[in-house]
C-alpha cells in the first residue's frame, strides 16, 4: 500500500492550503479522462473570429480538491474522488467532515492501536459537491485540479440535473403533436391520441409515453465545443445549453465522442485559453 507515501504528503498539502493561489498555478493534473466539477453561471453570446454569434454557457469549474484516491487493488476500480466548493463546517455533518479530515473516534483509536494506517485525507474544508472520476490518475489526495486540465481539449460532456417541470402533459414531456384545433376535437387539443389496441392485447404496454413528472433528473449534454478556458477566473465557456438552473452543480468531463473532423459544428474559433 502507498499509505505511507500518502501520509508523508499530508503536511505538504496542509502548507499548500494556506496559499490557494500557488496551487492554482501548479501544473495540470494528469487524468485518464479529464473531468472537473463546477456550477452553471448562465448563458450569453460572444462573437467568433469571423463575427458569427456563438451562444455559450459559462461554467465556473474548480478548483476541485482530490479527497480520495481509489485503486483497483483496494476498491476494485481506479478513480479519484473530488470535491467542489467549501461548505461551512457548521452545516457539514460529521460524516462529511470526516471525508476531508482525520476525525478522532473510538474506531480510529482502535485501528491505530492495531497498527492500521488511516486513509490519507485532503485536510480541507468540507465540500458541497463530491463526485468520483473513473480512470487512473497520478493525482495525490489534497491536490487541486483546475480548469487547466482541459487545455488542449476540444469538446466536453456536461452532466447536470435538469429543471423540474412538475406534472407535464405529453406535448411538453414527450414532444407529441397534440390534436387538431377544429374538426370536432373537444377539449383535448393537447392530449395524446390512442394509447393502445383493442381486445387483443387488451392492455397497455409498459413504458407507454404519457403525462407525468418531467424534469429534475440527471441529464447529459454530450460533445459541447469548448470555446474558451479562463484560467484566472476558473471559467469554462462551452457552446450551447447545459442542463439545470443557473447556479446548479454540473460535472464537466472530456467527451468520449469521436473527435470532430469537418462538417457542421466544426470548431472555428481559436482557443484563447493560453492568454
Amino acid at each position: 500500500m502507498a499509505a505511507e507515501d500518502q501520509k508523508d504528503e499530508t503536511p505538504e498539502s496542509q502548507s499548500e492550503s494556506d496559499v490557494p493561489a500557488a496551487i492554482a498555478a501548479s501544473e495540470p493534473v494528469e487524468m485518464e479522462r479529464k473531468g472537473l466539477l463546477g456550477r452553471k453561471i448562465g448563458m450569453t453570446q460572444i462573437f467568433d473570429d469571423d463575427g458569427t454569434v456563438v451562444p455559450v454557457t459559462v461554467i465556473e469549474a474548480g478548483p476541485c480538491t482530490v479527497l480520495l484516491s481509489r485503486s483497483a487493488g483496494r476498491d476494485g476500480y481506479d478513480a479519484i474522488q473530488v470535491g467542489y466548493r467549501d461548505k461551512p463546517r457548521r452545516l457539514a455533518s460529521r460524516s462529511v467532515r470526516g471525508q476531508v479530515v482525520k476525525l478522532e473516534s473510538k474506531r480510529a483509536k482502535k485501528r491505530s492501536h492495531a497498527g492500521i494506517e488511516m486513509v490519507a485525507k485532503a485536510d480541507c474544508e468540507p465540500q458541497r459537491f463530491v463526485r468520483e472520476f473513473r480512470g487512473e490518475t497520478k493525482a495525490q489526495v489534497g491536490q487541486k485540479i483546475t480548469v487547466a486540465v482541459f487545455e488542449g481539449c476540444d469538446a466536453v460532456d456536461v452532466i447536470g440535473v435538469s429543471k423540474g417541470r412538475g406534472t407535464a402533459g405529453v406535448m411538453k414531456r414527450h414532444g407529441f403533436s397534440g390534436q387538431r384545433a377544429t374538426h370536432g376535437v373537444k377539449k383535448v387539443h393537447r392530449h395524446q391520441g390512442g394509447t393502445g389496441m383493442c381486445q387483443s392485447p387488451g392492455r397497455l404496454f409498459k413504458g407507454k409515453k404519457m403525462a407525468g413528472r418531467f424534469g429534475n433528473e440527471r441529464s447529459t449534454m454530450r460533445n459541447l465545443r469548448l470555446v474558451d478556458i479562463d484560467n484566472d477566473q476558473n471559467l469554462l465557456v462551452v457552446r450551447g445549453a447545459v442542463p439545470g438552473p443557473n447556479g446548479g452543480y454540473v460535472v464537466v468531463r472530456q467527451t468520449n465522442k469521436v473527435k470532430r473532423s469537418g462538417g457542421v459544428g466544426t470548431p472555428t474559433s481559436k482557443k484563447k485559453g493560453a492568454k
Binding site: 453561471i41 460572444i46 462573437f47 479562463d230
Partner: protein, 147 residues
C-alpha cells in the same frame, strides 16, 4: 484579466468569496460581464432612436470582402452587453423592411448618422402602421449640429 467593477482578482482568490451560496446573482452577473467583455467593441458609433443611419455591413463573398450599406430609421434598441441589438427600418419599393443588428458585431464596420429625428419614445413600433408621408419624423436640428 481581472473582473471589471468591484470584483478584483485578489477578492476572487479569497476563500471567503468562494463561500457565497451557489447562484448568487450579483456574482454571476459579474462573471458573465467578464466573459462578454472580450466580445464588446471599445467604441461604438453614437446613434439614437429615430436617427436615420447608414449601417455599413461587412460581407464575405468567397475570399472577397465587401461592404453593404443598409439605410433606414433606428426604431428600437434592446438587450445589454454583447446581446445588445438595434433595429433599422426602411421602405423598399413600398414594402417595409426591418433588419436587426447586434450593436457589437465585428461585421458592422461603421454606423453613420444621416439625420436625427424627434422622438418621444424609445420604441418606434408605431411607424409600422404608417404609410407614405406619415412615416417621416421631425428633424432634431440642435443634435445634428453637435454631432
Amino acid at each position: 484579466m481581472p473582473l471589471t467593477g468591484k470584483q478584483t482578482t485578489t477578492q476572487k482568490n479569497n476563500s471567503q468569496q468562494l463561500n457565497t451560496f451557489p447562484g448568487d446573482p450579483k456574482m454571476s452577473q459579474q462573471i458573465l460581464d467578464h466573459v462578454e467583455s472580450n466580445s464588446l467593441k471599445t467604441e461604438i458609433d453614437k446613434f439614437e432612436i429615430g436617427d436615420t443611419v447608414d449601417v455599413h455591413n461587412r460581407i464575405l463573398e468567397g475570399n472577397k470582402e465587401r461592404t453593404q450599406v443598409f439605410n433606414g430609421v433606428v426604431i428600437a434598441r434592446s438587450g445589454a452587453g454583447s446581446r445588445e441589438m438595434f433595429t433599422v427600418r426602411r421602405i423598399v419599393s413600398g414594402e417595409g423592411v426591418e433588419r436587426k443588428f447586434p450593436v457589437h458585431s465585428p461585421k458592422i464596420a461603421k454606423i453613420v448618422v444621416k439625420r436625427s429625428g424627434v422622438t418621444r419614445r424609445a420604441k418606434l413600433y408605431y411607424l409600422r402602421d404608417r404609410i407614405g408621408k406619415a412615416v417621416r419624423l421631425r428633424e432634431r436640428r440642435t443634435d445634428v449640429a453637435s454631432k
